[in-house]
């Protein structure tokens, strides 16, 4: 942002009322109301940290740092370690990103470079529909339709074929389960395609037309133009968009809670059951009391901190690249 005082009309009109002695009460009241609403965002974010930290002190003081980052989550033994959930969250969101990104970027390119403006609108609507289908409906569909199908028809074959293959055998070999890291990751991928697509589109739309026309004038095909003119400009912004998607995948709760299989373990088997931060909170919070409840709120705080970090970086990257492109 430039610090040059731009003679914005909105700015100059406020204090510059030489004729009025003072601004009417209603006018000032409205200004205060608006400022208060704007600052509410910051207040809520701070309150989230304060209130969840306060309610989870019981967990932090009982387990200590080493206990928190242990693998063991055993409510019966009154022991609560977060590592298995951290692992599950990381694995499912990485799977989601790996699956979702090629599709999202391809659709974003399709919408901005291939399909002309007006005709792109129906495609945008359809992608938006994906975002409006509630998480719990994806979970229900995944549980009733997708999981049995994968478990009976797909995963056993995959497991058999890849059994013994060096790396893939470890990732996808038997034993296989319909509810697994991979199933949850794929459904999360479907759910984050809309956000990555729309942010990538915003970024790609800021590529200057003159660069694209220049590429065409040199005789480039459309794909060569995308590689040579669009990609170098929007690379950074797309990385940011992907990270926003990563944040979403990390926090998506209900679909993952239903599909991940609910067993806190760390394993390289992607087709095995697992657990993640949001899903353990959703599944166990109802019956939890005492330290377990504090621990679940603490997991929420950890998740919040993780997603905030990812989002801060992501939004920073997107903001910087779009601003640079608009040539501020």
């Amino acid at each position: 942002m430039s610090t040059v005082a731009q003679a914005g009309p909105a700015k100059s009109a406020g204090p510059a009322h030489p004729l009025a002695q003072r601004r009417p009460l209603g006018d000032r009241g409205f200004a205060i109301l608006a400022i208060a609403s704007g600052l509410l965002v910051l207040v809520i974010l701070v309150l989230i940290v304060v209130s969840t930290a306060q309610q989870s002190t019981g967990w932090f003081s009982q387990e200590g740092l080493s206990g928190i980052f242990s693998v063991d989550w055993d409510p019966a033994a009154n022991h609560y370690g977060a590592m298995a959930f951290l692992y599950g969250t990381a694995i499912t969101s990485v799977i989601a990103i790996v699956v979702a990104v090629p599709f999202s970027v391809a659709i974003a390119l399709l919408l901005t470079e291939v399909v002309p403006g007006r005709a792109a609108r129906p495609i945008v609507y359809v992608i938006d529909l994906l975002a409006v289908v509630p998480s719990v409906v994806w979970g229900l569909w995944g549980f009733v339709v997708l999981v049995p199908w994968l478990q009976n028809h797909i995963y056993p074959h995959v497991g058999n074929v890849l059994n013994g293959v060096p790396v893939l055998g470890n990732l996808f070999g038997p034993p296989v389960s319909g509810q697994s890291f991979f199933t949850a990751g794929v459904v999360l991928a479907i759910m984050i395609v809309p956000i990555i697509t729309s942010l990538s589109r915003e970024v790609i739309a800021t590529v200057p037309a003159i660069d694209k026309e220049g590429a065409y004038a040199l005789g480039a095909t459309r794909w060569e133009m995308i590689r040579g003119a669009v990609w170098p400009h929007s690379q950074g912004g797309i990385v940011g968009a992907v990270m926003v998607g990563l944040g979403r995948a990390m926090g998506e709760t209900i679909a993952a809670a239903i599909l991940i299989g609910s067993s806190p373990q760390i394993t390289s088997h992607l087709l095995a059951t697992g657990y993640s931060f949001p899903s353990v909170i959703a599944n166990q919070f109802g019956e939890a009391v005492g330290v377990q409840r504090a621990a679940l709120i603490g997991l929420g705080l950890l998740l919040f901190v993780l997603t905030i970090i990812v989002n801060l970086i992501a939004r920073g990257v997107v903001l910087r690249s779009t601003r640079r492109m608009r040539g501020a």
């Binding site: 509410l40 599709f103 095909t221």
Partner: protein, 299 residues
């Protein structure tokens, strides 16, 4: 690239030769393929929900009482009356809180804040806040409200309002940016105060975009489950009082019934899913028509 041209006298300027052209077409096909493959899960999910949901749904289903997932139904597997009511109440009240606050917040960022550091920071943090997981919002309202005042529909409304707020701020902000400065300058020249300019000139000029952005936020919030679970304490009975006592919503009912293996539970879940998707899509379609209609008039 030195590609030997077929006829050196008249180079063909229209089509790049051979392999480059093939590659270009291949990539275009891949982009379309990506879109079509993304459609597959959407079509499948909608097909299943409509097929299984329409078998479950009836007027009786939408109005009669819910049966707990672990109770064997005698003849009729129970309805979603309390959940439909709860969803409308809780989401409606959340919208009532979040829409005015969101619009005012955007007014601050765009009209009052100008280029100030605080306004820019607020705008940035609103972006970040859209990424806060919904379950964290649920925990937040649980710790700050439910622990002190108990479970209620109101707590659910607060959680949904927290989720909607940043989305509404961002969409409203985009719309306010599109209002031409000449409108503001004209009103100031007539001697109007800033609040009057904002309320009677700037906001009306952007109203269609603001409404559609708000409706999309409401549509997404209506389907949220995670923040609802900890704030309303899902029950089966009808609770018309939003401000006290446990409540229920369609999303919570789907979650409770989805993984239950008792008779009728799955059918209830599909029926509730169809109802919920119908509500969400209806809101989205209204949002789109509002935008389409008003943009036609203003341009």
């Amino acid at each position: 690239m030195a590609v030997p041209s077929a006829s050196p006298q008249v180079p063909d300027l229209r089509e790049p030769p051979g392999w480059r052209r093939t590659k270009n077409q291949l990539m275009t096909i891949l982009m379309w393929a990506a879109f079509v493959i993304t459609l597959v899960p959407l079509v499948l999910v909608l097909y299943t929900v409509i097929q299984k949901g329409s078998a479950a749904i009836s007027w009786q289903f939408l109005t009669s009482h819910t049966i707990p997932p672990n109770v064997m139904p005698l003849s009729f597997p129970g309805g979603m009356g309390p959940a439909v009511l709860g969803t409308l109440e809780i989401t409606g009240f959340a919208a009532l809180i979040a829409i005015p606050l969101g619009i005012l917040g955007a007014v601050y960022i765009n009209e009052y804040g100008g280029k100030s550091v605080l306004a820019n920071f607020t705008s940035f943090m609103a972006d970040v806040m859209t990424g806060v997981p919904s379950i964290v919002m649920g925990l937040f309202i649980y710790t700050i409200w439910v622990l002190h005042f108990g479970y209620s529909g109101l707590a659910g409304s607060f959680a949904l309002a927290c989720l909607m707020l940043p989305i509404i701020i961002k969409s409203t902000q985009e719309m306010l940016k599109l209002v031409p400065d000449s409108l503001r300058q004209g009103s100031y020249a007539l001697g109007a105060t800033k609040s009057r300019v904002t309320l009677t000139v700037v906001l009306p000029a952007a109203v269609s975009g603001i409404v559609s952005g708000a409706l999309l936020a409401v549509a997404r919030a209506a389907g949220e489950t995670a923040p609802i679970l900890f704030t309303i304490f899902t029950v089966e009975a009808t609770n018309t009082n939003l401000f006290s006592g446990a409540n229920t919503t369609l999303s919570a009912q789907i979650f409770v019934n989805a993984t239950s293996s008792y008779t009728g539970a799955e059918q209830r879940a599909w029926g509730a899913a169809l109802t919920l998707i119908a509500i969400a899509f209806l809101l989205m379609i209204i949002a789109r028509t509002v935008t389409a209609r008003f943009t036609r008039y203003t341009r």
